[in-house]
Amino acid sequence: MTEPLVLQPKLDLPAAAPLAEELKARLDGDLVIDGKEVTQLGALCLQVLLAAAISLKGKGHKMTMTHFSDKVVEQMAQMGFSPETLAEGRA
């Protein structure tokens, strides 16, 4: 099993491009996203994660999201997602 991708704590505007690059390099298999360090999930990074989930799904791979704090899960909910729906690339 591949190493989980541990996300940076602050997923804001400056974090979006590096995150997209990291994810692009990990689209060739199942992917575990570890959110244990995340404190803030902004819309742009959410969008990157969503695009990654859809891309993985299209390739028949699975994305799993783990260890997100309640606070971040709430932030997802405020933007219309849960870790599960985000991982599956659906609203």
């Binding site: 804001d12 491009a17 819309a43 969008q47 859809i54 933007m79 609203a91």
Partner: protein, 727 residues
Amino acid sequence: MSDQNDPMAEIRASFFIECEELMEALQDGLQELDDGSEEPETINVVFRAVHSIKGGAGAFGLEALVRFAHRYETVLDEVRNGSLQPDSEAMKLFFLAADHLSDLVRACRDETELDEATSDELLTRLDALLGEDGGSEEVEPEEFEVQGLSLALDLPDLDVDDTEANDSTLYTVRFKPEQELFATGNEPLMLLRNLCDLGEATVRCNFDDLPSLTDLAPETPYVEWIIELKTEAAEPEIRDIFEFVDGLCELEITGPQGEAAAPAPDAPAEEPPAPPEPAAEAADPAPAPEPPANVVPMGNKEPPAPETAKEPEAEKKPATPAAKSVVRVDLERIERLVNLVGELVINQAMLSQSLDEAGLSPHSDAMNGLEEFQRLTRDIQDSVMMIRAQPVKSLFQRMSRIVRESSAAVEKEVRLVTEGEATEVDKTVIERLADPLTHMIRNAVDHGLEATEKREELGKSRAGTVTLTAAHRSGRVIIEVADDGAGINRKRVQEIAANKGLISPDAQLSDSEIDNLLFLPGFSTAKQVSNLSGRGVGMDVVKTSIQSLGGRITINSEPGKGTTFSISLPLTLAVLDGMVVNVAEETLVLPLNVVVETLSLGPDDVQMLRPGNYVVRWRGGFVPLYDLGVMLGYRSHRKTDPGSIVLLIVLEDGSRAALVIDGIQDQRQVVIKGLDDSFYRAPGIAAATILGDGQIALILDPADVISGMGHIRGTDLMLSERKIANE
């Protein structure tokens, strides 16, 4: 990922600058409310200032700031919607909350420790204003949960009389952020959170336009949100949430569907207008984002909602000030420009001198061109100085806080009145005025005003008044701190000065001379040292600070009526219109604004008062005469011959003096070059400048020259006038 190269840092810095402006608007608004303004826009401005700070703080994850601002805003919202009528105590609390908000903003900016204890204490008091269930109003940003929309919309009975019973309205909000929204430090998450705070919401993200990860530009937003919001809030309130992203997003708010939230006032209760077949659509848990019937693009002033919603919107309009185009420039860049202009002025003086020495005709093209060059230099100079000029308003607002805090500390009721807040002063001067002004205000509150009970006994109003005024006068800025207290107790001041050995016990001093004893180092008249002022390090330090700005401070006090401290400052610390004079083969510069007349002494103009002290006859009166060369130590005493040139100067306090000089060279603009600490601080010398021939000339501070070395006091002068008149 986010380090020093963080582009957010710049946006964050600009957020804090905006916060300063918002705090200014907040203070202004609160002051207007406190002064009894019933203009609905006033509370709107106050609310929006706090709301915008909250919004920005949220974008940067400044949780403590968001938490405080949110609950402060909640209370202000109650005032806004008329549920809460703030009394004077509530207003005091609002001011305290604003002060604390300002502290929080600064602490967040400087990344210093936040005073959570004060936050909690103030929030408890703010919640108390909301009544018993006030606390439940509180919606912590973290506490929000997306709630399912209760779509069993028990449609109201549409009984018009029952407007209060159930006035929830269902809105559909479509929000699509644009790239600039992120670039300006905003974050949709905060907006969505605030929106959800308004009522029951279902948030759905539409990402149909999202490209695959490989094609995705990570900083470009592709998604939009559709929020079904059931709320009691009117549409303008929803729109307010997006106020600070106006133009940075697409926003559509669909008005009430099927709910007669606000029927026309004269609509018959029994026959409400037919609702547009909405129930089925509203019941759809995930309604398609189809274009609604009454879409209102952001910024459009015509809300779809009924009359009731229209009014606040209409009222709000004038509040949005006409967009003023503003560019924020790093102060360092302006400093560089100011220095360059200084060099330009010096260069122009050098060129002028070269052309003079070349013996060119004043009518030659070169001399004409030089004149034009001088005019342009002056215009550039003025324009650059205008850039650095700022209204003193922000400084005055800081002082209102000092008054609040110091009056609370000494338990006096004090009202601060400010005048001339729009007066513009060089930014560097404003910054350096804060400390001396703070001290003067504290002094006025602590020592100047009588205790409340004492005031009542004297038949004065309970609340003392401290007036802070700024104005431009004769090319200088005059700032006055006045109180309506007891005035200076001159007898006591003189006693103390004598006891401390500052003056001889039998000294005969004029009122003004006694008042000026307050500026002596170590002088303190307070019987008890309070924690506010009175440690004896006050007014002398104030005087030194003001002098270091090229300014002067004077006192005017009337027993029983109060005391006024006047600070007179140069408009800028960079250039000065000067008169270049020769004294004992030295070239000196005197500020032109103090020179009111030049005289050539006649044979009978000079009268000796006593050996070494002379006065000069001037327009029916007498003015003390000083030989500048002697006073500055350039030469020993000599007789003032008829025909000598004399400059008549008048200082801000109205005192006059005549200075004997050897010759006048020129009147010109000179660039002030400060003498740094490595130079001996010579009395009477304010700064230096570089002349056109590259020579350095000292710039004099005439008041310092006179006060430091003068031998003739006003009382002497009066005696001399009498004596000469009797002769």
